[in-house]
Structures are given as structure tokens and as C-alpha cells.
């Protein structure tokens, strides 16, 4: 049975090769070739692989092989063997590509429905009710405490950008508390470069704010 299938397929391939590439005659011959293969029952079925992935692999395999029918060498084996060999590799490629894209998806893994782009529910509530809540409740007075510090701590005014006492810790930190002034806007106001401000903030102001908050028992 297989022998006569193989003879038939080889004949169809030989016929297709005899016509010029892209010619209608070749296309007709190849269409018949594909039909015979797919109806033969000898095409590799994909061994339980995802049907969508298999279909994609089969499609890509045809696209690939039909461009290079001249490369089939009867001395190397039967036509079906040739087709199935490439089909298996194609399925592996398609599976790997799908796996890679799956790896980029991270499931939150919990049941809680929460749209992160909308205003979050009241912070006093806990959507993860089963999680033991050892965290601090929101401190309404966090900003008040910081603002008081900004007004009273003299060292904040003495900490400033080189030659610019007006660009000092009190001013810059104050402008970064919520709702913060944008860096570009602040830079215009203070007549400075935005990256001078961001560097000053990162290198000098942030450590100060951090140690202040730690000293008050926050964070």
C-alpha cells in the first residue's frame, strides 16, 4: 500500500517539478499532491499536541516544503517520510515559540478581582482577607509630619545645589510630595536643568527623607 502511495506521490512531485515554478500547471499539480498526502492517512498526526499548534505547524510545513520540492531526493527515503520529518520539527518550533510567549505572562494566582487602573478600594479594607495583616494602616498624618519637618529643620535649607542656595532640600522635597510638581516645571521655575534637580534629589534629598521617616518609625 505504502509503496503505491509513494510511487503516486513521487510521480506527482516529478510532474510538478517539470513545470516552471509559479506556473499554473505546477500549482495544480501541487494542489493535487497535497490532497493525496492529506487523504492518505499517513500524515503524522501530532501525537496529542494542541490542535491549534498542530494546524499552525502543518500550514507552515506546507509553505516551507512546497517552495523546495526539487530538494526531495528519492534515494533518501519515501515522500511521506520526508514530509513527516519536517512536520515534526515544525511542530517543535511552533511549540517553543508559544511557550516563550507564555513565559511572559504572569498570573497573579489569587482570586481577587481588582482593576489596577481604577482607584483602589478604601485602604482600610483588605481585599486579601485571608492574608494576615501585619502592615501599618495608612497614616493620614504622614504628609503633615513631613511638612512640619520641612519647615523646621534648618539643615534642609543648608543642603543645596552648588552655588544655588535657593535649590535646597526644603524646596525640592516639598515640591515632590504628592501631588508632586513635574521636574520640567520645577526646573523652569527654579531656572535649573531638570537633571541637576533629579541628581540633587537622588543623591542628597532622598537619603535625608528616608532617614527622617525611619527615625519617626515610618517605613
Amino acid at each position: 500500500m505504502t509503496d503505491s502511495l509513494d510511487r503516486q506521490l513521487q510521480a506527482l512531485l516529478a510532474e510538478a517539478c517539470a513545470y516552471p515554478a509559479e506556473s499554473i500547471a505546477r500549482q495544480k499539480a501541487l494542489t493535487q499532491f497535497v490532497a493525496v498526502v492529506e487523504n492518505s492517512g499517513k500524515l503524522w498526526r501530532g501525537a496529542g499536541a494542541d490542535r491549534d499548534l498542530y494546524a499552525e505547524a502543518l500550514n507552515e510545513n506546507w509553505l516551507y516544503l512546497l517552495q523546495r520540492i526539487e530538494t526531495y531526493d528519492p534515494g533518501r527515503g519515501a515522500v511521506m517520510t520526508w514530509i513527516n520529518f519536517y512536520l515534526k520539527n515544525r511542530l517543535k518550533d511552533v511549540q517553543m515559540a508559544r511557550q516563550k510567549s507564555l513565559d511572559r505572562k504572569i498570573d497573579w494566582g489569587d482570586e481577587v478581582g481588582l482593576n489596577p487602573w481604577e482607584t483602589l478600594p478604601d485602604p482600610h479594607s483588605n481585599p486579601w482577607a485571608t492574608v494576615e495583616d501585619n502592615s501599618e494602616p495608612p497614616r493620614e498624618n504622614l504628609l503633615d509630619v513631613i511638612n512640619l519637618w520641612l519647615r523646621s529643620d534648618r539643615s534642609l535649607r543648608r543642603m543645596h545645589v552648588l552655588d544655588r542656595p535657593d535649590i535646597n532640600g526644603a524646596v525640592v522635597i516639598g515640591n515632590r510630595l504628592p501631588p508632586p510638581k513635574k521636574w520640567k516645571e520645577l526646573a523652569l521655575e527654579l531656572n535649573a536643568k531638570p537633571d541637576t534637580l533629579t541628581n540633587f534629589y537622588h543623591n542628597r534629598c532622598l537619603p535625608k527623607l528616608r532617614s527622617f521617616l525611619q527615625s519617626k518609625g515610618f517605613g
Binding site: 504572569i106 545645589v161 532622598l206
Partner: protein, 315 residues
């Protein structure tokens, strides 16, 4: 995962800030989960988890242990661009765009650098490019000796800083002597001091001479609190192959003197210093000279107050 983000977010009194912190930490944790699966070691020492930083900046950095920080920007699934605030433009290995949804997150792509506060998502590169960024960037001095260096290190011969002439980067006075004589003196130098003094002389007269070695400069610019400072690294191959002589030199770009307290240090791979020098009140230059075996690794650290910059080298 989300409860950690939630607990951090709810510490903040402003509702906008809560949302921002929540989304930032979701993005950070999504990337962290992805990287852990790939065998990359991460930590939780980043600004994104720090109350002071959360309060005053929009940051979503993830600590990559021993390497640096990766910024993980949350993206609305319907958006076509990614927001990258100015405060994240420095000190990052790169940027990952992460679509954040109600049930899941998807890593969309990677960029090694950004220069705008909004970047179109289709400018992002494939995620696989991320892995190159997660290694410590090293400068290879043997590559320098054959003319290859990373873009940021400019050939001192071609450097045109504002103001200061090249001569300011040599503190050895120019003396009229034939080139051959200086070359001989270089080859016969008994120690690093003599070697580099003669090399300076040769550099000033004939920087193209094959024995003049290689000198490259890194403009440390604003990184040190607005003090314009340049770091010059010079390399000379030694007679016995397998060793190079290294010069580290720091000079000011706008002022005459270096800021007092500025420190230059050479570090072993474990972080301990093998050499260190500090600028005193009226130093216009500080330098270190040493020798290294080819293949040996070291780092160069420049520090002023809280700011420091470290560059990594292989001899």
C-alpha cells in the same frame, strides 16, 4: 504577589499615589517572577519598595543582585505608549514594559535606554534582549590597546572638552627632548612614577607614538553633584607580555581645583580597595598608578559625599 503591592500602596495617604505604587510593584513583581524562572538572582533592596522613594518619585526598579537595577514600567493594556518618568533615566540597566491587567501581567519588551518620558510600545525591543543587560559591564584594557573601546570612553587625543586644554591632564611640565630619548626612558623606567612621568612627556609631544599607550576619558559630568570632573584611564603594555601599567587620573573640567574630599580608589573584585587617594584643598589633579596582569579584574570608584561612580575593568 498582589498583597505585597497592596500593603505597600496603602501606606500612602494620596489615592493617586496608592494606585501608582500598587501598579509599580505589580510590574516589579511580574518581572521578578519571570527572571527567577530564568535563573536570574533578584533582591528587594530597590527604591520601589522604599517608602521615601515611593512617596516622592515614580519608580519601579527591580534589584538584580550584584549588577544593578532594572526599571519595570506598568502599562495599561489599552495603551500604545509606556510612561518612563525622568527620575528613572539614570542608574538603570534597562527598561521593561509590563502590561498590567486584572488577572495577569504580560512582559511586552525591553529597551536599554530611554530619553523621553513617553515611549511608543513598538519602539521596544524583543524581551530576549534583556539578558545582555543583566551582566556587569566591563571595559577590557587589552581591547583598548588594539583600538576597541565602549563608546562612552573617548580617546583623549580626540576629546574636546569645553575649556580645558589637554595639557591640563598632564602635570608633568613639557620639556624639549627628542622622542627617541623619551621612549628609551620609558623602556628603562624603574617604577610606575618614572614610567608615567616619561609617558606624560611623550603624550604631550607625540600622542600618536606607538609607545605612548592608550588614554581614554570618561566625563563624569553631573553625576557628582554638578561638579564637572573627568576620569582618564591610561594603559601601557609592559616589556614582559602579560602585564600592563595602568594610570587613573581625575581632573576638574570647569574649576581649577578638585572638590575637597573627592576620592579615587582602585578596588579588587571583592570590593576592597588596593589603592586610594583623596583630593585635598587645592589639588588640581589626583592619580593612582599600578600594574595588572592581563585578565585580572579590578574596579575604579570615584566618590564625593553620597555620590559614587564605579567602572569595571579587565586588564
Amino acid at each position: 504577589m498582589r498583597d505585597v503591592a497592596w500593603r505597600s500602596a496603602r501606606r500612602h495617604p494620596s489615592r493617586e499615589k496608592q494606585g501608582e505604587v500598587f501598579r509599580n510593584l505589580l510590574a516589579v513583581q511580574a518581572v521578578e517572577t519571570f527572571l527567577i524562572r530564568m535563573g536570574v538572582k533578584t533582591g528587594r533592596g530597590s527604591d520601589s519598595y522604599d517608602l521615601a522613594a515611593q512617596l516622592s518619585l515614580d519608580v519601579a526598579d527591580l534589584e538584580i543582585l550584584g549588577v544593578g537595577r532594572l526599571e519595570c514600567r506598568p502599562v495599561n493594556p489599552k495603551a500604545v505608549h509606556c510612561d518612563v518618568p525622568m527620575e528613572t533615566w539614570n542608574d538603570r540597566l534597562g527598561y521593561v514594559a509590563v502590561a498590567i491587567e486584572e488577572t495577569q501581567a504580560t512582559l511586552l519588551g525591553f529597551l536599554p535606554e530611554v530619553q523621553a518620558q513617553q515611549v511608543l510600545l513598538d519602539r521596544f525591543e524583543p524581551l530576549t534582549n534583556l539578558f545582555e543587560a543583566l551582566v556587569v559591564k566591563e571595559n577590557s584594557l587589552s581591547d583598548w590597546l588594539v583600538g576597541n573601546a565602549r563608546d562612552r570612553w573617548i580617546d583623549l587625543k580626540q576629546w574636546k572638552p569645553q575649556g580645558n586644554p589637554l595639557a591640563a591632564f598632564c602635570h608633568t611640565p613639557v620639556v624639549e627632548r627628542p622622542v627617541e630619548q623619551i621612549v628609551t626612558a620609558i623602556n628603562q623606567a624603574q617604577d610606575d612614577e618614572a614610567l608615567w612621568s616619561e609617558s606624560d612627556r611623550l603624550w604631550q609631544i607625540a600622542p600618536e607614538h606607538p609607545q605612548a599607550g592608550v588614554r581614554r576619558v570618561l566625563d563624569l559630568g553631573l553625576a557628582l553633584e554638578g561638579n564637572g570632573i573627568a576620569l582618564v584611564v591610561g594603559v601601557l603594555p609592559k616589556e614582559d607580555d602579560g602585564e600592563v601599567a595602568v594610570l587613573l587620573r581625575i581632573a576638574p573640567l570647569q574649576q581649577v581645583y578638585l572638590p575637597q574630599g573627592l576620592t579615587l580608589a582602585g578596588l579588587y573584585p571583592d570590593g576592597n580597595a588596593f589603592a586610594r587617594v583623596q583630593a585635598r584643598e587645592s589639588d588640581n589633579l589626583i592619580q593612582l598608578k599600578f600594574q595588572a596582569n592581563l585578565g585580572e579584574k579590578f574596579s575604579v570608584q570615584v566618590m564625593l559625599g553620597d555620590c559614587s561612580i564605579t567602572e569595571h575593568f579587565t586588564a
